[in-house]
């Protein structure tokens, strides 16, 4: 499994993108294509479900960071849910937690859009 991305839009207009596999430089363009497409469709409320993301390199974090401002300016955001322990550790070491909102569960991430 390299990278499988599944999108699901809920009634509140939040798009959940399930990330399965790894995001490195060989798969980041596929990941960016999905984020870019959502932005072009004005779907700016995004949750990345990372429960099955095994590995994320800077190429993946870079895509998220590059689209944060666009999504926020469009009234939405990019939020992360259910990172595994090791991915979350690097996320925090890199201080990306100061830039991107993350939640332990998908439900918590969904609730944050309602609040």
């Amino acid at each position: 499994m390299n990278l499988i991305l599944e999108e699901k839009k809920n009634a509140d207009g939040v798009v959940i993108v399930s990330v399965k596999g790894f995001i490195d430089t060989s798969t980041s363009s596929a990941f960016e294509d999905v984020i870019k497409k959502l932005y072009s469709e004005s779907a700016t409320k995004i949750i990345l479900d990372l429960s099955n993301a095994e590995f994320i390199s800077s190429a993946g974090w870079g895509v998220m960071i590059a689209y944060l401002k666009k999504m926020r300016n469009g009234g939405g955001d990019i939020k992360l849910a259910s990172m595994n322990e090791k991915v979350e550790r690097v996320f925090k070491l890199m201080e990306f937690d100061n830039l991107i909102d993350s939640f332990k569960t998908l439900d918590e991430a969904l609730k944050s859009y309602k609040g």
Partner: protein, 147 residues
Amino acid sequence: MTLEKMTTDKKNDFLSLTVPAENKSLQIIRNFIVQSLEHSFNKNNVYELEVCLNEICENIVKYSYEENKNGNILIKIKIKSDIIRVIIIDTGKPFNILEYQPPDKDMLVKNEIKGKLGIRTVQTICDKILYKRLKEKNRTEIIKKVK
């Protein structure tokens, strides 16, 4: 041509892997470091080294070989007690990771910066980074104390 060679040198006590310098090799490289370390060390530390090695190799493919796929990457892992040294050797253009100034965190979102995060990752996670250009080869070494 596909080249993937893994060796163990008991005399000098290191593990090594040689792969073609292309993005397809990244997963092999990551598997190599995980399999070499996962039974002896904390999984978070192993993942951190996996991330750093991946970042350096991504840069070698992109900048040192400029994605022309004509070279190899040699990786050696040396373990001494709780210190892991990972040595990465390539024969591409000179590429000194220590010369690159990573972007400031606070500017990332503001300027929508997508790249140059890899070097920042390595500098943040590793305890020491060494670089030498020797006999037309880049020799990058990362050192990390692990649990």
